[in-house]
Structures are given as structure tokens and as C-alpha cells.
Symmetry: C2
Subunit: 269 residues, 2 copies
């Protein structure tokens, strides 16, 4: 077993900064890099990005949907990308938002957290519509393998409140996810359970006290959030925030030195 995800993340963030670079190879980006929008083009953009800046980034977050969109060939590209991220000394946080129950959830965990498949990442995102407890097989495997699980909690899209702000016994669904993650982390001591929380809310209405897992905050830049505004939004928990930017960095390609310069700039904002 490698050391726990949370510890590996903290060490890398201390060294390389806390910016997570999302790899979302949209058609417009792939074409802007001078490639056809096909599996080969997506592969070049994604892997060349890691080649250019992989030594300066703590975490890359490939968005699985953009690889799945090319069918089984796209998953082969994703596998090679994940290998590159590891070789660059960065962590891979694969954004797959899986969620199921029982042996099916265990199969997803095996796919992405076991170290026994070519789609294994250092951490993945998961979705708790079937209840936080249904995610246990993934959390168990994350603990056993020194990997991480980020649970969708409170997203910034306007439709998200329908589910995430519904309440039971006076607590919102999102707060229940926070509390369950905190309890889980306190029990294991590994803090392997992270949360996904949007960064563009006017206020959060979440009590994050005593929650020390990592908080993935997607869409810095493109979706309107700024690194500065995070301190206001998250209060003390801002120390655990992993802000993620994708388009803002990727659009700087394909030229290597320009990518590295823009990365440094985005890190500072």
C-alpha cells in the first residue's frame, strides 16, 4: 500500500501549489490545438498537456465523459493519459461520478481504485443519489489502497438545489453528505473522503467545521469562480480546497512555454 491519498496530496500541494488542472478536451479546444476531433486528436491534446506542465501540477482531473464520448477507443486513450499523469509525478483525480450499490459499486471501485486495471486513478469522484452509505465499497477500497474518493455534495449548477437542498430532519442533503464524510474521515484517520462543492455560490449554507478532507472546487475561471473568492466562501476550510481550472489552462496550448507561463499565472490568481 502506498501512503494515504490525503497525505500524498498534501505533500504535492506543498511542493507544486494547490491548482488542479482539469483535462476536458472539448471539440473547440482540440481543434484550436490543430488536431481533428477524434480519438487521436484528443489523445495528443491530453497527453501533450501533461507532457508540457506535468512537473508543475499537483493534480490533473481528466473528465471521463470526454473520453467515453469516443466509445471503447476513448477509454484506451484515457488509460494512456492516466499512465502519463503518474509518470509526471502528479496525482490523477478521475472525474467519473460513479454511484451504485453493493457488488456493482464494488466493481466500479475495482475499476478505478484497485491498481489492478489500466483505468486506476489516485482518486475519483462519486455520486451519492443512492445514499452516502451505498458508496462504502469505494471508500473501503480507497482506504485499503491509499486512494481517495470525492463525493458530490453541493454543486453550483442552478438545478442542483432540487436534490442537494432538500431536507430531512432539518438537515439538507448536502449537509448530510458533509457530516457523513466527516464521520468517515474521523473513524479512519486517513481523510480519504473528499467533497465536491461548487465555488460560485453567494453563500454555502454548509457547516464544514471539523471536516478536514480535501474539497474539490471545479470551474475556477471558466465558470466564474476566482481563487480569491474561495477564502470568503469557505472560511477556515479554504486550506483544504483544491480549486480546479480547465479551459483557462488548456486554451493556452499547444505551445509548451506559453502553457507553462499561463499555468503560473492561473496559479497566482
Amino acid at each position: 500500500m502506498t501512503s494515504p491519498y490525503r497525505a500524498r496530496l498534501a505533500a504535492l500541494v506543498a511542493e507544486r501549489g494547490n491548482l488542479c488542472v482539469g483535462i476536458d478536451p472539448h471539440e473547440s479546444l482540440v481543434r484550436a490545438w490543430g488536431h481533428a476531433f477524434d480519438p487521436a486528436g484528443v489523445e495528443r491534446v491530453s497527453r501533450d498537456l501533461v507532457e508540457a506542465i506535468g512537473d508543475r501540477v499537483a493534480v490533473f482531473k481528466p473528465q471521463s465523459a470526454f473520453f467515453e464520448a469516443f466509445g471503447s477507443a476513448g477509454l484506451g486513450v484515457l488509460a494512456r493519459l492516466l499512465a502519463d499523469i503518474g509518470q509526471a509525478g502528479a496525482l490523477s483525480l478521475l472525474d467519473v461520478k460513479r454511484g451504485d450499490i453493493g457488488s456493482t459499486m464494488a466493481a466500479y471501485a475495482h475499476a478505478y481504485l484497485s491498481g489492478q486495471t489500466d483505468l486506476t486513478a489516485d482518486a475519483i469522484t462519486v455520486s451519492p443519489y443512492l445514499g452516502f452509505g451505498a458508496l462504502q465499497p469505494a471508500i473501503d477500497l480507497a482506504h485499503a489502497s491509499g486512494r481517495g474518493v470525492y463525493v458530490l455534495c453541493r454543486t453550483s449548477n442552478p438545478e442542483g438545489g432540487q436534490v442537494q437542498q432538500a431536507t430531512a430532519a432539518g438537515r439538507s442533503v448536502a449537509q448530510q453528505i458533509v457530516d457523513a464524510a466527516r464521520e468517515c474521515n474521523e473513524q479512519s484517520g486517513q481523510h480519504a473522503v473528499g467533497l465536491v462543492i461548487g465555488g460560485t455560490h453567494a453563500q454555502l449554507d454548509l457547516d464544514l467545521t471539523r471536516y478536514f478532507g480535501s474539497i474539490l472546487v471545479p470551474g475556477i475561471g471558466a465558470q466564474g469562480g476566482t481563487v480569491e473568492s474561495l477564502a470568503t466562501l469557505f472560511g477556515r476550510a479554504v486550506d483544504n480546497v483544491l480549486p480546479s481550472a480547465s479551459r483557462q489552462v488548456m486554451k493556452a496550448g499547444p505551445e509548451r512555454e506559453h502553457l507553462r507561463a499561463v499555468l503560473d499565472e492561473v496559479k497566482k490568481t
Copy 2:
């Protein structure tokens, strides 16, 4: 464009009966069929199952997790299985439970509902933790391509109530999903939006009046539900129920005639 999913489903169910056969190639099943638990073994079990009973089944429901568990090679197996299901004249309902927002949700929709990738199915399952409205790109593509989308609504696992029974303005999350699906179906007239509802609840606490989409009810047999009990649970909506059984059928293999006999038996219960 082919004709709408709901119409194709109704025609096939009238001809072959309403049993949906889940393809969940667990390790124990693959070994019981006499194969190693590897991509080749999973491929043989899954494709031989369709070869044996594909002419008598309206819908097959492959569980994506059991293929993803073998990494990118597993997705190649899934692609070949989906092709077989189509060639057998059956519908494929791929259980992937995807859910995201915006262009990412659109990428998932393209992967599984466009007809342009080898992972395209006739219908997929989706997860609404980010709100029903976030699923719109998948619903739009389903309408445009004559395919279907089954939205997770009220599952039978004990942890599901944490999210699904939370309430906003007096309505449970699950009921909000029902109501949104009904409105969507009334607007399109296609009834392409199905629901996933567990069959083992003592009672449902859901108002399904005027909802005419398909209702996938997983786990008949193995998870304790029976086809008989569905009438009690679903009332008039039972006509739209697509009961799904997996292990009960798959454990009858690999002998073809035995599989066909057991299938006929399961259909009758």
C-alpha cells in the same frame, strides 16, 4: 431516426414479454460457466447468454460496472456485447447511471445515445444528484435519436432514503423526479423518460398517476422482489413496469436449452 424508444419497447414487450434480463457477470457466475474471471471469460458468458436467449428477450440490461472493472479492455467487450444484443433483435438498456452537467452531460449522452460510438445503447440509466434539469442534454438526444433515458428515482437499498426521501416544499426528491419525468414526457409525447424504482418496498409513497413512461424495476428474484408483488406495489402503473432479473437467469447457464427453459419459467413468475 428510428421510431421512439417507448414505441419500440412496447412492440417488443408485446411479442416477447416484459422481462428485462440483466447481464451482471459476477466472478462466481463466470466461474460457474467454466471460464476464468478475465475479459475473455466475461465476454464468453455475456455474449453466449445473448446467443442462447436473445430471440426471446425484449430487453437486455448490461451492468457497465462489471465491464469497466476490467479497464479499457472491458469496454471493448461491452461494445461487442451491445452489437450482439442489437443483432438478436432485442433492445439494450445499458446500466451506467451517468450524471453530470452541461457539456459534460452532453458528452455522456453522445457516448451512449448518439448511434455514433460502439457504446451506444437503446437506453441508459442516469443519476439525478445534480438535479433532474441537468439531465436535459441526455433527454434531448434521446428524443432526437429515438432512444430512452431511465432516471434513478426511488431505489430499494436501505441507504437510498437519505437522499430520495428528503423533501422540499412537502414533496420528496423521488416524487419530484417522477413529476419532472411526467412533465417531460407530456411535452414530448415520446415518453422517452423512464424511471428506476425498486420493487421491494413495503409501499411506494409515490404518486405515479399520469406517468406513462417505462419503469425499470431491478432485482426481481435475487433481491427478493417477485413479479406478482409488483401489481400490489405499482397499482395501475404496473402495465409500464419492466421487471429485471439477472442472476436467476444467468445461473442457469451455460447450457443453451436449460437457459431457455429457465427463462420461460422466470417470465411466468
